[in-house]
Amino acid sequence: MHTKTIAELISGLRNKDFSSSELTQHFLDRIAAKDERYNSYISVTRDIALAQAQAADERLATGDAPPLCGVPIAHKDIFCTQGVRTSCGSKMLDNFIAPYDATIVDNYQRAGAVMLGKTNMDEFAMGSSNETSYYGPVKNPWNINCVPGGSSGGSAAAVAALLAPGATASDTGGSIRQPAALCGLTGIKPTYGRVSRYGMIAFASSLDQAGVLTRSAEDAAIMLNVMASFDDKDSTCVDQPLEDYTAGLTDDLTGLTVGVPDEYFGEGLNPKTAEVVQAAIKTYESLGATIKPISLPHTHLAVPAYYVIAPAECSANLSRFDGVRYGHRCEDPKDLADMYKRSRGEGFGDEVKRRILVGTYALSAGYYDAYYNKAQQVRRLIKQDFVDAFADVDVILGPTSPNPTFEFGSKGDDPVAMYLEDIYTIATNLAGLPGLSIPCGLVDGKPVGLQLIGNYFAEGKLLNVAHQFQQATDFHQQLPPETA
């Protein structure tokens, strides 16, 4: 059962090949047996999962159940889940039981999906390797000496290791697409505003967007159908009509124009990765697409702008973790200042502290214009690059990540080297565009991700372009050797 895609599980449940309770129990058993190796879950919500599965079975028996009913999934531990620890990968929230459900968690619950547990992640979603989690690093099922990517590394590893058929995730600068690439999965970050952020613990509010990690574009479409909604509790959510993302999956790609930016194939790109991506371009040509070289001239400014804006927003977003109302509070504070300093000093890890400090600095009197304002100007230029490009092309294609997965600790103490792993994904968040990563081959036995970027609210088109690739290739069906 665990090798089946979500689409297959849905028909299996409807054909009564197995019940949701059997399916859920099966995944819970697999997690119990195997996750010690990957560390992909922070919390396994066994009792909730079994209760939800039973309810789903009852609903399925009526013959009137929504598509995802009875399908087990995992939630990234960044989403608040009522009555369940929601840690965000941090010691700060190790004791935090959320008093409410995030909107997307509620969406899945109402659709009858079963929650297996909460997945591991970089602390407060800050990281590209899952090494910053308070709960220890997640191992890449393709090679357990290597990182799964981050920050949604737990969700990616859980799906890649077949410990969940699909998982929710979030992406601020590549945190869905880069782990998808490194773990051989399909991952989509929708347009900013397509999915509610209510109940998703904020890292950088203007960049954060929830999405999904699955083993096929079709599964991603099924999951996104439930996740996407307009939510009046999130002022940045866009009241855009909902669409069925599965409807256009099989549309023919003849006449599709695919833009390939020069800047995504320059220095810094692993030559072997480049080769695999070039082969994928050929596949698209064979599917009837026209390839058009384009330029996104401000690409080189994306990482610097991001590392001003994201830390600036996070420096304020993380101020609420002060030890006063919830979360970690130091022992025996001697006064208020002591309580703040030690609670935050003890509760946050190094990468989180680094970004809070960088952000605080960038917003300080005398530096605001030089950093924050300048970065916002750059952000507008980057967005304009894409607007110009989409006047001529339907989708933009390139590598998701400059390198395949790397060994733990190999980026050493060089945060910038780590930040550059997100060089191709960050611009999408700055522009608010939807982006998707699909597997397009292996390099030295490690998966390589192909990134597709779409125009605003063109998730349907992206999933169609990804699905057609997956109809023509079998990269997405390859499993990590030890799980196969």
């Binding site: 989403f79 608040c80 929601t86 965000c88 929230l93 935090f96 959320a98 008093p99 409410y100 995030a102 952020r197 209510y198 109940g199 998703m200 613990i201 904020a202 950088a204 509010s205 203007s206 009046d232 509790k233 999130d234 002022s235 940045t236 600036a312 927003e313 420096s315 304020a316 993380l318 101020s319 609420r320 973790f321 002060d322 006063v324 109302r325 919830y326 208020l336 703040y340 605080t360 917003l363 300080s364 009197a365 605001y368 924050y372």
Partner: protein
């Protein structure tokens, strides 16, 4: 050396919206601690703010009433600082693009002068919670009921030159917000709070002196006192060769002093930046004009109408219209009695004195407008004299009923019956033959003064109820006949 005090006020007004500015929790005052704070107000992880349209509507009403520019695009920013009653670690407020831009209002001063005070801007923001330092055995309690209550902060230019002007301006703002119904304006409950920026300079100097910000002034009386005390302190300091340091000071009403506070926080860098959770709010002309159409008659317009319609002096009209409840009361009395001038006098003099003395607010006024109108009618138709009227009024304030009931019950009806008065006059003259002789022998020009004695005696006999005019006439007639 002649000194000049320069004052600017920052007034925080709690808006009486149904719910908070960024959440659906109630804003009612006085609930048990933390019972009106939802997940958003508690800054639970993952929660997001949603702006309250009613708060914008109220702020626009205020801006229109102040003849100010309306910010058609306004932006919320985050003001970052740590404090336990500030759950998010930042206050969501407006800085660069506030909802209300520059404006100007006319303020009436005692003595009939007016003064223009310029509004720098007014912005929307959220209130913080309250830290409670008592009753917790050395620990602090936090009540977040108030957290997220909508405020408009009204920032004036430093246009005021005395504590009296500052109070007059503050009262004008109070009058406008209560007329608009956007706040109850209760300073004692913190619905309206005032910080004063005070500096001094030599008269004639163009350059402003170094200012101090005085916080925690929670009544009109204290605003006046705090400003005067602070100005004196600064003048003494400079005259003694010292220098004023820019700082935030706390007004202590009991000790009648201001003293420095939060010295550590004065150098705070608030690191403002636009709140990414809230999009800029754009208002179109249609929205603004629709609000303009809902504005009630404002104090200035009401004052001018009172002058034209009721023939009141501008000063009297201004006093009567400074509070909407008083203006409405006066107007009811004037209409019901048909005697606007008498009504104005009674409201401004007798009623005001009673409320002041008994420390009763107009809201709790025990004399209904119809009752006061009834009293005025009886003065006008001669049933009672002005003097007796005061007695009746006093009875009314004790809840003894309407004028006619009191007059009837206490037998206060004025005696205008000529026969009865003639009898009283005859008696008084007969019993005071010596005075009558003196009167008759006195010079013509001394006689009116001497007449007072007889009038007094007659009024005493009549227990004040004899019609004074009739007494005078009959008395003169009888004396000339003697």
């Amino acid at each position: 050396m002649e000194w000049e005090t320069v004052i600017g006020l920052e007034i925080h007004v709690q808006l009486s919206t149904q719910s908070k500015i960024f959440s659906g929790a109630s804003t009612a005052f006085g609930a048990a601690p933390n019972t009106q704070a939802c997940a958003v107000d508690l800054a639970m992880p993952g929660t997001l703010p949603v702006a309250n349209e009613e708060a914008f509507r109220f702020a626009v009403m205020f801006g229109l009433a102040m003849n100010a520019e309306i910010g058609k695009r306004s932006v919320f920013e985050r003001k970052n600082y740590f404090y336990p009653d500030l759950p998010k670690g930042y206050q969501t407020t407006q800085l660069q693009e506030p909802i209300v831009g520059p404006g100007v209002i006319e303020v009436e001063l005692a003595g009939g002068q007016t003064k223009s005070v310029r509004l720098h801007h007014a912005h929307l923001e959220e209130d913080a919670g309250k830290s409670l330092h008592e009753d917790y055995q050395g620990m602090s309690g936090i009540d977040l009921n108030r957290a997220g209550t909508p405020l408009i902060e009204i920032v004036s230019e430093p246009d005021m030159r005395s504590a009296e002007e500052a109070v007059a301006y503050l009262k004008k703002i109070h009058s406008i917000i209560t007329y608009l119904g956007i706040s109850d304006g209760e300073m004692s409950q913190g619905s309206m709070r005032c910080d004063a920026n005070v500096s001094v300079r030599l008269k004639g100097d163009e350059k402003l002196g170094t200012r101090c910000e005085i916080k925690n002034i929670n009544s009109f009386k204290f605003v006046e006192k705090a400003i005067n005390i602070e100005a004196e302190r600064q003048i003494d300091l400079i005259e003694d060769g010292g220098k004023v340091t820019q700082e935030t000071r706390l007004f202590d009403a009991e000790k009648s002093e201001t003293r420095p506070m939060r010295s550590k926080e004065v150098a705070n860098d608030y690191r403002y930046f636009p709140c990414p959770d809230l999009l800029p709010v754009v208002l179109d002309d249609e929205y603004i004009e629709a609000i303009r159409g809902t504005l009630p008659e404002l104090p200035d317009a009401k004052r001018d109408r009172f002058v034209n319609e009721y023939g009141l002096s501008k000063y009297d009209a201004a006093v009567l219209t400074s509070e909407r409840i008083t203006a409405d009361y006066f107007e009811s009395v004037a209409k019901a009695s048909g005697e606007a001038k008498l009504a104005a006098n009674w409201v401004m003099v007798d009623l005001a004195a009673f409320l002041n003395k008994s420390e009763t607010s107009m809201t709790d006024c025990p004399v209904a407008a119809e009752q006061l109108a009834g009293l005025i009618k009886r003065i006008k138709d001669g049933t009672i004299s002005g003097k007796i009227a005061k007695q009746v009024f006093e009875a009314m304030t004790r809840g003894d009923g309407d004028a006619d009931t009191i007059i009837e019950k206490q037998g206060l009806k004025q005696v205008s019956d000529t026969g009865a008065i003639e009898k009283m006059v005859d008696d008084v003259l007969a019993n005071n033959q010596a005075q009558v002789d003196n009167y008759k022998n006195a010079d013509e020009n001394k006689r009116p003064k001497m007449l007072g004695f007889f009038v007094g005696q007659i009024m005493k006999t009549s227990k004040g109820q004899a019609n004074p005019q009739a007494v005078n006439e009959i008395l003169l007639k009888k004396l000339s006949e003697q």
